[in-house]
Point group: C2
Chain length 245, copies 2
């Protein structure tokens, strides 16, 4: 199941190849030195997920934790009547397993062909208990997610449709930058409905604000699932309501 082991010469930088894959990651394993990392990797097993395939559902017993090594996921919660709120998207290097109780708080579903690494939660917990730096990193990760969630509250509670979408694009661009890709282009592996459910809008409104930002020459559609940012500063202004166009 596991890809062949990678040998490291020295303790790893915060961003490094991880979990037997070529992905550069900001996730929990970043703090481990090479031997510890090898130990951890022996605990995990790799597998694939096809587009639309769920990794787990909200309410499922959470007996595993995961790292995403390739592809992308959407995370969402449902109301009884089917209304959906996408709480986040996962990209390579992201860790999936922050939880208090033993049930998943959301559904996770693949957006495209994806590769993940699964760990038994008890074993993962044992491992972290033996590695204080790992525990601290998990905490930092949770704190980081919490800060992002609070940002999203501002977006959902107080921003207009255009501001939400502009903010969303900038978030994706920044993430791409962190990974080292060109920040000028933003890939959208998710559907307009997924974006809508993330931004608290409808897919029609997402289409309309997309058209609006296009008309303002802030962005350009290279493909349906790929946007070019033409005017970064203008987009930043549009994201916070400093409308000048």
């Amino acid at each position: 199941m596991l890809a062949p082991a990678v040998r490291h010469q020295a303790p790893l930088a915060p961003n490094h190849a991880c979990f037997g894959c070529e992905v550069r990651t900001r996730a929990v394993c970043g703090v481990l030195d090479c031997d510890k990392l090898a130990d951890l990797r022996r605990l995990g097993s790799s597998f694939r997920l096809s587009p639309g395939q769920p990794l787990f559902h909200e309410g499922d017993p959470a007996s595993l934790v995961f790292t995403l090594t390739k592809g992308s996921l959407k995370l969402y919660k449902l109301l009884p009547d089917g209304r959906r709120q996408v709480t986040g998207f996962m990209y390579p290097g992201d860790f999936l397993g922050i939880s208090i109780d033993d049930e998943h708080a959301f559904t996770a579903e693949a957006l495209e062909q994806s590769v993940l690494c699964a760990f038994s939660r008890p074993r993962f917990d044992d491992f972290t208990e033996d590695n204080a730096e790992m525990e601290r990193e998990l905490y930092r990760l949770a704190a980081h997610e919490l800060a992002a969630a609070q940002q999203q509250m501002v977006l959902l509670g107080r921003k207009t449709a255009a501001e939400r979408f502009a903010t969303f694009l900038l978030m994706l661009a920044e993430r791409a930058e962190r990974i080292g890709a060109a920040a000028r282009f933003v890939d959208l592996p998710m559907s307009r409905s997924d974006i809508a459910d993330y931004l608290g809008l409808t897919k029609e409104t997402v289409s309309r604000v997309l058209a609006q930002l296009k008309k303002q020459r802030l962005i350009r559609l290279e493909a349906l699932d790929r946007i070019e940012i033409l005017d970064r500063e203008g987009l930043e202004a549009a994201a916070d309501g400093d409308l000048d166009g």
Copy 2:
């Protein structure tokens, strides 16, 4: 500065008197035994805050962490043009200091006469590093906050005004229950505007929704800042959109 020390006979239950006050708490100190707790308490210093007085502002250097021992706070973020999103309310026993970087991510402001205990962040960090159970508890706390934040995203992104307010009341009732108070009555130390900024609405809409739930006989206003829940199940149905009235 500190209140007189409290002597404990045995390791403390998850809910216990903490930080030299009589408050029962679910916060980080709950996992410590009595000696450790005494150590921690020696690091902190107690102080008061008047209604409307800020504890810190968004962007301030975060050199301290706090526990709230009495009163209540609102936490909020601002957009450049003044729009406000209240990200949460704090009650006695709550911990205030989950953060990655050295800047506060939000403003914290007292709603009523409040008492807090302040700890130097470096010293607090040293303490947690020496107490693995404390570190773990901090992580669990962050994970818990994250789960709550995701719930709030569902509220802000997908619920109607009435659903939001009903959900809010039930959240307050559940918190009161955990503390041991009568869940039938809900105190509202915050203004209608604060509630509105928490729920992503206007104060007028909050008033209207309040009137609507009153007319449906789900709640009653004992005072402007105190609500009686008349029909818990009805309110729960109203909170998720299972409208029957």
